[in-house]
Structures are given as structure tokens and as C-alpha cells.
């Protein structure tokens, strides 16, 4: 069964994209990540124009994050105040990011920038997660208990002004770090078509020192809104959101996510992290390979925006 996509202007096999959505959903349920970082490269690999892939991935992130956010909210695992502060930065970052996409597309550097950002971020984050996961599973093997981090360390972040009390996280800190982190993630997510969970979660744990129990819920809370804004802005500014493609992917994704969650509950956290790190590094390596290898054709075509 094939379907003609109204915005991507191509005829695609529904089953292939349903299966793609399902596998991404499975992995995102398994690892507790949005899966945007896998979806966007796979879409371009299947021939979807990269700008459409980025914009449509953003809508997929909304679908895959919203149910998690609600669940965490009901269990009281969301620090709304912290989420809102990060969101303030996140929304402005998204706005900047979507504008950057528009400029980069016109200049012909969009594909290149996206590829570089993927290689750099996925490379760094994948390595950290992998190494940390391996160390953690070794520790568990050696001692049988997961070591807890030391708390109460001081750093320069605590010297910043505009301090605010976050009772839910039991923190008294400057609003600048969460705003800057939110802004950075928002900008990144708009350009790369990802939710950014794999960057924002470590940032919240190591930089903001939030209690781990609140981190996932709070990050999902703000990712939902950032991805929703990214989708709307991409639709308005770049006209690259393909609603038909989005719905096929989401339909597969939400079902796959449920199975992923079931399997994930049976696996050990450290093993999951090693797996996730490996998957992220694989994607980064694949994109780095494309950048370094001589292309099949040094020439490429692009329609001039607003030209048709």
C-alpha cells in the first residue's frame, strides 16, 4: 500500500514507514528517550528531504513524550517551577533554532550543519553514556550495589545572581543555568529534530544537581512544549511539516513504545545504558562516515525557497 505525501511530494510505502515508526517507538520505550535522534537520520536515508525529516520528527517527539510526561506528572515526578523556568529558555531557543534552519537552508549549509551537530553531540553523549554504563555494570558486578554520587559539592554555578527557590527539587539556585540549558536544548532540538532528552537529562543531573527522581518527568514536561513549538514554527516558517508522514510514524511509534517499555522493565539499567550508548555512537559513526567519505556525486540540486 502506497500513499502520496502532500508536503514531501513523494509516494511512499505505508508499511515501511509504519515499521520505521514502530522500531523507533520500541527503542524510545526501551531506553526512555524520544527517539528523534534515530528517526531523523533514518528518514533522510529513506529519501525524505532533510528539512521535512527534521520538522516531522519534532511532531513525533511530541507524541512519544506526552504520555510519559502525563504519567510522571500524575506520580508527582515533575518540578513544574523548574520546568517552566527551563521552558522559558527552551521556547526562545526553539525560535532561534527554527530561524537558523531557514537561513541555513537558503545558504545551502543545512544538511552539513545537521550532520556535524549529529556527529559532535551524539559522539560525545554516546561515549559518556557507554563508558558510564560499562563502569556501572562493573561496579555492580564487583560490589553488588550501585554507588551513589556525592552531594553537596560547590561550584561556580552557585555564585550566579537571580537566585530562586525550587521547593520541589529542594534547590536554591540562580535561574540562569536552567534558562541557558533550556535555550541550548531548544535551539538544538529545532535544528536536529530531536527532543534532546539524552542531553538535557545529564545536564539536569550534573549541572543543576536535581534529584534523579524528578529529572525524567521534568525533562519530558519541557520537551513536550519545546517540540510542540518547534513543530508549529517549522510549519509556519519553513512549511516542511508533513502531517501524513507524521501520522504514519506516530501510529507505529506509539504502539512500538509500549512494547519497548515492557522489554525495558525486564532489562538492567546499566545494560540498557551500554546499549543506548552503542546505538547513539553507531548513528554518529554513520553520519561521520558520510561526511568524510568522498560523495558519490559532488553536485547536488536544491529548489530555491519561495521559487515555485
Amino acid at each position: 500500500m502506497t500513499l502520496y505525501l502532500p508536503i514531501a511530494e513523494m509516494s511512499v510505502s505505508v508499511l515501511v514507514y509504519l515499521a520505521l515508526g514502530m522500531s523507533i517507538g520500541f527503542l524510545s520505550g526501551l531506553f526512555g528517550v524520544g527517539g528523534g535522534f534515530l528517526l531523523m537520520p533514518l528518514l533522510t536515508f529513506l529519501g525524505v528531504p532533510s528539512a521535512v525529516a527534521v520538522a516531522t520528527s519534532a511532531s513525533h517527539v511530541v507524541a512519544s513524550s506526552v504520555s510519559g510526561a502525563i504519567t510522571h506528572y500524575q506520580r508527582g515526578n515533575v518540578d513544574i517551577k523548574m520546568g517552566l523556568v527551563m521552558l522559558a529558555g527552551g521556547l526562545s531557543g526553539t525560535y532561534i533554532g527554527v530561524g537558523a534552519v531557514k537561513i541555513l537552508r537558503q545558504a545551502g549549509y543545512f544538511d552539513f550543519t545537521v550532520a556535524i551537530m549529529y556527529v559532535v553531540f551524539l559522539g560525545i553523549v554516546g561515549t559518556i553514556i557507554l563508558v558510564e554504563g560499562i563502569n556501572a555494570s562493573r561496579r555492580v558486578k564487583a560490589t553488588g550495589v550501585v554507588a551513589s554520587r556525592k552531594s553537596g559539592q560547590h561550584n561556580w554555578l552557585e555564585g550566579l545572581p537571580f537566585k530562586m527557590r525550587f521547593p520541589r527539587s529542594k534547590l536554591y539556585m540562580s535561574v540562569l543555568p536552567p534558562i541557558v540549558i533550556g535555550m541550548f536544548i531548544g535551539c538544538m532540538s529545532a535544528i536536529m529534530g530531536i527532543g534532546g532528552g539524552f542531553v538535557i537529562i545529564p545536564a539536569m543531573i550534573y549541572l543543576l544537581r536535581m534529584p534523579t527522581g524528578l529529572v525524567i518527568g521534568t525533562s519530558l514536561f519541557q520537551i513536550v512544549f519545546v517540540a510542540a513549538l518547534a513543530t508549529i514554527l517549522h510549519a509556519v516558517e519553513n512549511k516542511t511539516v508533513d502531517i501524513v508522514l507524521a501520522l504514519i510514524l506516530i501510529a507505529g511509534g506509539v504502539v512500538g513504545a509500549q512494547f519497548g517499555t515492557m522489554v525495558g522493565e525486564k532489562l538492567r539499567g546499566e545494560h540498557l545504558r551500554v546499549l543506548l550508548g552503542a546505538v547513539i555512537l553507531l548513528v554518529a559513526a554513520r553520519m561521520a562516515f558520510d561526511l568524510v567519505m568522498p560523495p558519490e556525486d559532488v553536485f547536488s540540486l536544491a529548489a530555491v525557497a519561495g521559487g515555485s
Binding site: L3, A63, V244
Partner: protein
Amino acid sequence: MLRYLPAVVALVFCAVGPALADAPKESVEADASTRQVAITSSFTGTEILVFGAVENSVQPSPEAGTYDVIVVVEGIPAPVVVRMKSRVGGIWVNTQSMRFASVPSYYAIASTRPVDEVADRAVLDAHGIGFDHVRMVRTALSRTDATDDATLQAFKQALIRLKEQERVYVKSDFGVSFIGRSLFRATIALPPNVPVGPLTAHVYLFKEGKMLGEYSNRVMLQREGIERYIHEAAMSQPLIYGIVTVLLAAGSGLAAAFAFRKPA
């Protein structure tokens, strides 16, 4: 071309002259099988048939090859950027680009034999017949250090090659066949990724390198039904379209979470 104009005029006068009244001038009439192609959600490409007849044909048999017919189906012209990558510090980056003001978005050509055998360069260039003769105007907005003709040609060749790979430029050297002394036909393939917009079908009749007649027709290519509705919404109401997408995405996420909820 202008050099031959007196000769052409003379020929025309001869043709209507009483001496040649028994051999009237040949001309061409043609049409496309479909005037309107609908792009619906099940569109996977289609074919149109272009057919026509040579009036006052003196061709003894369909195989005689007295006439050459060239069928060109063109999409609306649009500006295009061709970019070239080169290696910068070990990675491949777009460094040069050339912008063409108007290039046919779709170009299919079928002929009784390769077009370069049918007529000479000047005639083909004048009518934009054949990949190498399509009008492509380079604009000042190009970003390249070289401005010589070789570079221009390299970019043009790349443009044609890439368009051929996308299957929006199609050439069929023996795609027009005569099925009678005067009747001819050609099928033109419209791929699934054909740019949406009106198409123009041209039919040219040649005899011994001279153009005897030309016939043009429009084929409408437009979105229909739900495709049209969605595309129009995305283009004219982008804000509402974006919000609807988000609501649908959030709704399906919630619906799935609810449907699969563990019995607590």
C-alpha cells in the same frame, strides 16, 4: 537562423504556388490522451499518451522515416541552485553553487530518432529541444570562483544528470513511433515525484532537418481531494496546520498510553 529566413519564406511561397498545388505543405496535429492528471493520495506516477497525425503525409509506409517527430513535455520553469561539494579539512562541504533563474521542473522528450540527428544545433537551441538545448539562464546570485564556460557546462551537465536521476528529466530516443503513414504516438511517463503544476506538451514535425510544423497543448497536473486540502492548509494556514499536527500527535500519544495502561 535569420540567414535561412529568405529561403524559408521562398519555400513557403513555392508551396502555395500553383506549380506545386498537387503536393500541399505538410503540417502536424496532435493531442494528449489526458488533459487533466489528478494527484491523489494514491498517486504513484502515471503515463500520458501523446498522439497526432501528419497532414498531407507523403510517407509511403510507417517505417519509411520520411518525417521526424519530437514530443516534448515540460513542467513550469522554476529557479534551481546547483551546489558542488569539495573537501575542506577532510570533510565534504558545499563550497560552490550556481543558480539558474528558470529551468523546467520536468522535461520529457521522445523522438523518432536521437534529436541531434533530426536537426542541427541552431534549430534545437532555438526551440529548447533536447537536454543539451534546454534554456538555462544563469543568474548573478551564484557563488563560484570560476566564471568560465567549462565551469558553467559542468554545472549544467550536473543539473541534467541529477534531474535524470530523480526521473524528472526523461529521454526516449526512439519513443515516437509511426503507426500508419501519418499517425504517430508516444507515451510519456510521469514519475510519482513529478513537480505539481501545469505541463506543456509540444509536438514538432521535421523533414530533412527542417521544421514543418509545431503543435502545443496544456496538460493540467493538480492535487485533488485530501491531498489538495492538506497542501492548501499547509501553505495558506500554516499556523492552524501546525497546531492541528501537534494536537493530533499529542492525542495519539495520550490515546496509546491510555489503551495500553496497566491495570493498576
